[in-house]
């Protein structure tokens, strides 16, 4: 096929831009260690209250400055809905929905999970600055969706 020079140039530049941008994405995973959610555990949401660790939701210290937060999402609240940790804490969130699909967004630290019934979701964040961090449900879950939130208070 007869491809004119400027057409070829545009094709080359377009591919180069995409390859470089994708390389940056790969670098952010490999070098910066940012990972997407992956399968953790499959559960029956109807039995969530009897399924460990969700039979005992709450915040547990698992090491120096290191915590595990087990949380349940249901219409229209998180349980527990408030966590208090010291500055510099590393918190691993283990969250599951008991009913419909919910969201779990802590925007300031890049935690972004979709809580699909039947799937346990997991993410880790380090809270370096003192303050109140909003946890917001960002997946439409019914008429009370805008009331569903929690807080991480870092002192």
């Amino acid at each position: 096929m007869n491809v004119p020079f400027y057409e070829r140039l545009v094709i080359f530049v377009s591919i180069a831009i995409l390859v470089i941008a994708f390389a940056a994405v790969v670098a952010s995973t490999v070098i910066a260690g940012i990972h997407l959610p992956s399968p953790v555990l499959r559960i029956d949401p109807r039995e969530l209250n009897n399924t460990p660790p969700f039979d005992q939701p709450g915040l547990r210290e698992v090491g120096p400055n290191s915590y595990e937060a087990v949380m349940i999402a249901q219409t229209w609240a998180f349980t527990p809905n408030e966590l208090q940790v010291p500055v510099g804490s590393k918190v691993t969130f283990r969250v599951a929905s008991k009913d419909v699909t919910h969201g779990f967004l802590i925007s300031k630290v890049g935690v972004n999970l979709t809580l699909i019934p039947g799937q346990v979701a997991e993410a880790t964040a380090t809270f370096r600055e003192p303050g109140t961090y909003l946890i917001v449900c960002h997946e439409y879950c019914g008429i009370g969706h805008q009331a569903m939130f929690g807080k991480v208070i870092v002192q």
């Binding site: 096929m1 491809v3 004119p4 959610p37 039947g118 019914g142």
Partner: protein
């Protein structure tokens, strides 16, 4: 000498001097029965635009703390019911109805013959109409406040599902009619290349045909039996995966008809010529092949899908960005030819010589400009680690109001500025109002997108009645973004109202009658030449497209199955 003139002389004079290469001689006499169906499709589409857009106004006001939903409560029970109507009417009804009509007409014009089966065309329109009626009834009676994504286990009335199935069925019937027309044309033209306009219209539908299988399986085999109580439980993770198998390609089903206009109609309207016929075919074939194996980029934050498989879809998502980059070049090149032919000089001087006084052109030029930003924000969504910052925030809403909400919608508005006169024989009324429509829309969406994009980065969730949210006081930094979103949305609505006036004036005959309205068709600077024939082999591309879908999705299904059927139905009507 500009860069583009250089490229022309590079090619030698033979290309430029080629005989005018209209796809077909000017055959514009099609059966009235078929043109009537095209017209009705356009009417249904625009009605959906106005009703859907009205809810956009209410949502914009809500961002400004003016909550009028309590006043609407006799009819519309909640923000979310309005939002569901807004989404379904705009992205499923407005788009599908317009595309069924417009692409049928483009197929007819491309082949220079009527569609092969008028009954099938009637059936497609009937299916759409009944489908919109059923889903519309369910939404208006607040039995289906589940958004256009209808994520289970939220559980709408089954007629909502059935209505959407009928809407999809109307697209399949339109596609079948195109294929019948292709077959009949081929019998009479055994050696000829498929005319460009017909080819890209057909490819648009073929792409959607295979991609829509995911959503068809989800709704017909999993959700309808579940909502009827024939099976007790469903698996939301599996349902969503099937949904997004179709849910991303559907955006190309909306976008490609706009591309058809940008490639083979707008250049004619500006006095330009299409730069390269084969390159356009390559672009559409790439969309056919690459549109579907990308669905996981809508599911980056879902924990049921392994991160490694998300990476595979990430690669394909970047790849499907490529044909849009080529489109930017080719379309702008065609515009430059037009601008220079009209006396434009210098590197960018041709831009001011484009016919900015033509509302159809202006609307589509502005749609293209907005699409550059919309496309760029899409690449941010596609970048999986960056996606964690913006996923399901208002950033996404900002993105798709620039893409489907403007690149597509404003293009369709621009197309209707010649299409409605062509179909009705009534001249466009209110040229300056029509121009203002385009400018209000484009400026409005820029302001709106500033609010939604920055708001998303600040953590504003999408699909949330934000003024009523329990946590608004804890996030004072959102205020500016919410105000900007609200003002931008209102400016867009003003554009929509102006469009309604233009349309009403035209249909009422205030502009008089016209016999000059025609379907614009662009000449091409280069015909395919040798070696381009294989591009037209749609069967081969179809096979490759299916193979890529299997590569992208089989590893997931193999590792995921058996399903986790644990979500019951009747408890989850939560609105």
């Amino acid at each position: 000498m500009s860069a583009f003139e250089g490229s022309l002389s590079n090619e030698g004079s033979s290309v430029v001097a080629a005989a005018p290469a209209l796809d077909r001689p000017s055959v514009e006499v099609f059966p009235a029965s078929q043109l009537r169906l095209v017209r009705w499709n356009v009417y249904v589409s625009l009605l959906a635009l106005f009703v859907g857009g009205l809810f956009g106004l209410f949502q914009a006001l809500e961002r400004l703390q003016i909550d009028i939903f309590p006043l609407l409560s006799p009819v519309i029970k909640s923000y979310y019911q309005g939002l569901t109507l807004h989404g379904v009417l705009l992205v499923l009804v407005f788009t599908t109805a317009f595309i069924n009509g417009f692409m049928s007409l483009a197929t007819m014009r491309g082949f220079g013959r009527a569609m092969s089966n008028t009954t099938l065309m009637q059936a497609a329109f009937g299916s759409l109409l009944v489908g919109v009626g059923l889903a519309g009834w369910a939404m208006l009676t607040n039995k289906a406040t589940v958004m256009f994504t209808f994520y289970p286990p939220l559980n709408p009335h089954f007629l909502f599902y059935l209505g959407l199935v009928l809407v999809v069925l109307s697209t399949w019937m339109t596609s079948a009619n195109q294929m019948l027309t292709l077959r009949d044309w081929r019998r009479e033209h055994p050696q000829e290349r498929v005319p460009l306009m017909a080819f890209i219209s057909i490819i648009t539908y073929l792409m959607w045909d295979i991609a829509s299988v995911g959503i068809a399986i989800e709704v017909v085999f999993l959700l309808i039996p579940w909502s009827l109580g024939l099976v007790q439980t469903t698996d939301p993770q599996l349902d969503r995966t099937l949904f997004w198998l179709s849910g991303h390609p559907i955006v190309y089903f909306w976008l490609l008809p706009a591309y058809v206009s940008w490639y083979v109609m707008v250049p004619r309207q500006v006095g330009g010529r299409l730069f390269s016929d084969p390159l356009v075919r390559v672009v559409f074939v790439l969309f056919l092949v690459l549109s579907a194996p990308v669905g996981f980029h809508h599911q980056f934050t879902e924990s049921g899908i392994p991160a490694a498989l998300k990476m595979v879809h990430g690669v394909f998502t970047f790849a499907v960005f490529f044909p849009s980059m080529v489109t930017a070049f080719t379309v702008i090149a065609a515009l430059e030819v037009g601008g220079r032919a009209r006396g434009g000089k210098g590197l960018l001087g041709w831009i001011w010589h484009l016919p900015w006084g033509n509302p159809s052109v202006t609307a589509q030029l502005l749609a293209m400009i907005v699409f550059v930003l919309g496309g760029a924000s899409g690449l941010i969504n596609a970048s999986q680690t960056v996606n964690l910052v913006v996923h399901n925030t208002s950033f996404i809403v900002g993105h798709f109001h620039m893409t489907v909400g403007t690149a597509v919608a404003l293009s369709f508005i621009g197309i209707s500025f010649w299409l409605v006169p062509y179909l009705t024989g009534k001249a466009l009324w209110g040229k300056y109002l029509a121009l203002a429509t385009a400018w209000f829309w484009a400026i409005g969406v820029m302001v709106f997108a500033r609010g939604q994009i920055i708001g998303g980065i600040e953590g504003i969730p999408r699909r949330t009645a934000i003024a009523n949210s329990a946590y608004l006081d804890l996030a004072p930094e959102w205020t500016l973004s919410n105000i900007t979103t609200g003002i931008g949305g209102i400016i867009m609505v003003v554009g929509g109202v102006l469009f309604l006036l233009v349309l009403l004036g035209t249909l009422l005959g205030w502009g008089g009658r016209t016999r000059e309205a025609e379907i614009p068709v662009t000449e091409s600077l280069s015909r395919g030449g040798v070696g381009a024939l294989w591009l037209d082999d749609w069967k081969m591309w179809l096979v490759i497209a299916v193979l890529l879908i299997l590569i992208a999705y089989l590893p997931f299904f193999i590792t995921y199955l058996p399903p986790n059927f644990t979500s019951p139905a009747p408890a989850f009507q939560l609105w």
